[in-house]
Symmetry: C2
Subunit: 203 residues, 2 copies
């Protein structure tokens, strides 16, 4: 019963641990493809173009935008980042499930372009926990921590635009639940899946 | 993030192995409640009223029907069988997930009364496999086997009224996927769940 792949959007407020959960998920399910971002940021010596990122200069990036080649994009600390449509679509067409880890603002752009995706929101177990995670990064001053915490609560209130919510209390438990969500979505009944089944049933 | 339980309907054509899958599922998740049927069939010495079945005489059963106390019912080999609403509703209200194993005709009655349930259809991997399972019961003559096989195919075509389909090739794999579907449904975003989360987040 093979079919077109799913785009799985893993989002949630800053500090919730999206990256850690995605790494654990990928370790559990190595068959998952991970969306590769385009960026105008300088390539670091260890990075490989087309593996870590697709690297572009600003003109190249503008062209992607103008040609509608990006599912979403944003400018962060002076550099552009975006999600190229071509890579994602190629994987989905080949029947692969694709993970896209992205912040809440980006996820809402993605939803405009890919409404059929599976939108999963990661939640911190408690306000104090979220605050501790933001503080533990040790990179922000007090005013910035307050601001991030405030923003995180704003972001959590955008939850109703998502399909699933998973609390990230324990990384492995959280990744396991995300993995089960992917399993479940692969068993959902749709017309194409059924035609395929019916052919194999009588084969 | 606790909420009202889910009613999980496990259905599929005759011979697909619904009972075996439900037994495996229950072994994996002992916390699942299993819906208890009402019947007019005579109680066997080993059976306990309210555990294996709720036993009624015909008048008692008619009363259940008339008072709308059954989610579904049918007459099989001269005896009535039905699913009492009270037991299911009590469990759901207490936040328990309830399994209801039922044939395709029964499931469609249930859907009229409980449209919010999770409808899972078990599929045989192949027509030959289904035929083998029906034959292996050894209880039916050739004409009956043909009829059951024909009916099974009719039943499979009612798949589009369900939410999920799982192929029962390996019982444990099948039960595991059903278990993952339950996990996923428990992470679905709904207003009540979110209110609860929000309270605990700020607690």
């Amino acid at each position: 019963m093979r079919r077109e792949g799913h785009l799985i959007i893993i989002s949630g407020p800053s500090g919730v641990g999206k990256g850690t959960v995605c790494t654990a998920l990928k370790a559990m399910r190595p068959e998952l493809k991970v969306s590769i971002s385009a960026t105008t940021r300088k390539k670091r010596p260890t990075e490989v173009d087309g593996e870590n990122y697709f690297f572009y200069d600003e003109n190249g990036f503008y062209e992607l935008i103008q040609q509608g080649e990006l599912i979403e994009y944003a400018k962060v600390h002076g550099n552009y980042y975006g999600t190229p449509k071509a890579y994602v679509m190629d994987q989905l067409d080949a029947g692969e499930d694709v993970i896209l880890e992205i912040d809440v603002q980006g996820a809402m752009q993605v939803k405009q372009n890919m409404p059929g995706g599976i939108y999963i929101f990661l939640l911190p177990p408690h306000k104090n926990d979220l605050e501790a995670r933001i503080r533990n990064r040790g990179t922000e001053d007090e005013a910035n921590i307050e601001l991030r915490l405030h923003n995180a609560q704003e972001e959590i209130s955008m939850l109703h635009d998502y399909d699933y919510a998973v609390i990230n209390e324990d990384v492995d438990e959280c990744a396991t639940l995300v993995s089960h969500i992917i399993d479940a979505e692969n068993q959902r009944i749709d017309a194409r899946l059924m035609r395929k089944y019916w052919e194999e049933f009588h084969d």
